[in-house]
């Protein structure tokens, strides 16, 4: 009996083996470029060009990072990116929550058609509206300002869609009960809907932040003042600044990546839950 079940357990483990091997191989493929970026960012420039490449920084050159920080105003760029991404994230989450609330809990004429109209804007690539948006910002005299960097992104159909889908999964009776308890829409949103949607809100916040942080084209268009540039543009200018020292550019890339990495790790619990929400009601 025990021998049998032990044998079965071993067999089951054997069955899992190919799957885990495949997953490990995929992970290695995905992680390898990142790993090499970290390694090369710590190599002296001489080592960087050798072949075959060195897979381990035997004498880490931390000065590459200092160089990346000083050869362009990196702290300033990072601060700008941080401000921009934070404002966009907060704005997007707030507007999406309000709009999603209206589309899922309030009754008004043409609610569903309006929602689909709203959704259809998701089909329009951002690049198509980039020119009119630029003209608007220019006319408002918002070039080289934080408003110019952030306002076009404060409301998105994607965020509204994501949250609405989640809000729709909340029991309608909660709204009825709150109505009878005397809670208005805003209070119901804040004291019931938001606490019950933490995972979805966190997911949206992380996506919004990631997207904002990684923006390149728009900040490039609306900022000329080096004081207003963001970190992604910083990396690009670092590239032209440090043509000779690619490893310094890589160090800069790693620096730009760190806040993202920290954020994803901090929120990964929510992310997994947010993305699988609805698959399994819990």
């Amino acid at each position: 009996m025990t021998r049998q079940s032990a044998g079965r357990a071993a067999l089951r483990l054997l069955g899992w083996l190919p799957l885990y091997a495949l997953l490990a191989a995929s992970a290695a493929v995905v992680m390898f470029p990142l790993y090499m970026t970290v390694v090369d960012s710590l190599q002296p420039i001489a080592k960087f060009l050798t072949f075959p490449p060195d897979f381990w920084p035997h004498t880490p050159v931390w000065s590459n990072y200092r160089a990346a920080m000083t050869s362009i105003p990196m702290p300033r760029y990072m601060a700008n990116s941080l401000i921009m991404a934070t404002v966009i994230t907060v704005g997007e989450v707030v507007t999406a929550a309000l709009a999603a609330y209206a589309f899922s809990f309030m009754r008004f004429p043409f609610r569903t058609p309006l929602f689909f109209l709203f959704l259809s804007t998701m089909m329009v690539p951002w690049e198509i509206s980039i020119i009119p948006n630029f003209q608007t910002i220019q006319r408002l005299n918002w070039l080289d300002t934080y408003q110019g960097l952030t306002v076009p992104f404060l409301a998105t159909a994607f965020g509204t869609f994501l949250l609405r889908q989640h809000f729709m999964s909340l029991p309608r009776e909660l709204k009825d009960a709150a109505d009878i308890d005397g809670y208005g829409d805003l209070r119901f949103l804040l004291s019931v809907v938001v606490p019950l949607s933490r995972a979805a809100l966190a997911t949206l916040a992380v996506f919004a932040f990631l997207q904002a942080w990684n923006q390149y084209l728009w900040p490039l268009l609306v900022t000329n003042d080096p004081n207003m540039r963001t970190v992604q543009i910083g990396i690009a200018s670092l590239q032209s600044e440090e043509v000779q020292r690619t490893n310094v550019v890589l160090a800069g890339t790693i620096l730009a990546l760190l806040p993202m990495l920290a954020l994803v790790i901090a929120f990964q619990r929510f992310l997994v839950r947010g993305l699988t929400a609805g698959a399994l009601k819990g």
Partner: protein, 366 residues
Amino acid sequence: MSVRFDHVSKRFGDVEALVDFTLDVADGEFMVLLGPSGCGKTTALRILAGLEEPTAGAVTIAGRDVTDLPPRQRDVAMVFQNYALYPHMSVYDNIAFGLRMRRIPRREIDRTVREAAATLAIADVLARKPGALSGGQRQRVALARAMVRRPRAFLMDEPLSNLDAKLRAQTRVELIRLHRQLQTTVVYVTHDQVEAMTMGHRIAVLERGRLQQVGEPREIYERPANLFVAEFIGSPSMSFFRGPLRQTDGGGAVVDVPHLPFALDPAQAAAARGAGWAEVVVGVRPEHIVLAEDFGERYAAATFEADIDVVESLGNELHVSLISQGRGMVARLPAGAPVAAGEARRFAVARGHLLLFEPEHGTRLG
């Protein structure tokens, strides 16, 4: 406080959920809205709560027209079928939630919450989240939440339907006790006739958005206004037989159901004649079908031979499905009655208990 539906109608698109519904509920009364699913009972309750707007008509609470008031200004409390507890809040906060909107001092809220929790025996779970409670406890939390508001009326939407049979019976008794203690008007929606019969001071039976009958449980059972109510109330259901009305010598009358003629009492016969009906539907409750051998023929309105199809023993009584001349019916016999499936026996229908209905519209005679 008294509650009144005044010619209330509600349409959802093409569906008439409630049609010209008028009902008066007295102060302190326990009124049950009873009917099959989709009959409009929940719609009526939601209109009373202010969660739905009526298409026509008015709702008054304590004599005041509240038709255009939002739910929070109507001062009613509602208990929902699935309880609708806020899952992220503790039991305590769930109960206190409605009070906090009313600028009641914190200490007062605390006292009220603990009092209600003690009454409903949930004082020991106040710190827990609803997810950690049993169905019966959630039910009590939902009741406590309604109770602490000291509303003008309790609205309950099938509050017991998610409980298992035993707990349901127990909670029914507790609700009756609670109502006796609080003396607050209750409007209670259910499709369960046992709940309706046991808890309601009066029952309003609805079908397809229309009020069929309002009355005390006993009245509804004994004198159903029409065929629908007669069939819906009572378990097992009444059996029905249709036949032409025929005069007999000596002023009597017979409902001439093929192979199963029912002799009418003189008074009933006179009434049927007076109404000028050509055909009638006879309704017989299961408890009025008995074994003929136990029964003097002269007390019988009809006797007939029937095959026993199924015998269901409930311990204290038997529900016996019969087939006679291709017609099915159910008899309720005492436990230990000498019947077995497959047998053919003679049965009698007790005199004085026949209900007569007009076949077209289903209205009851008398």
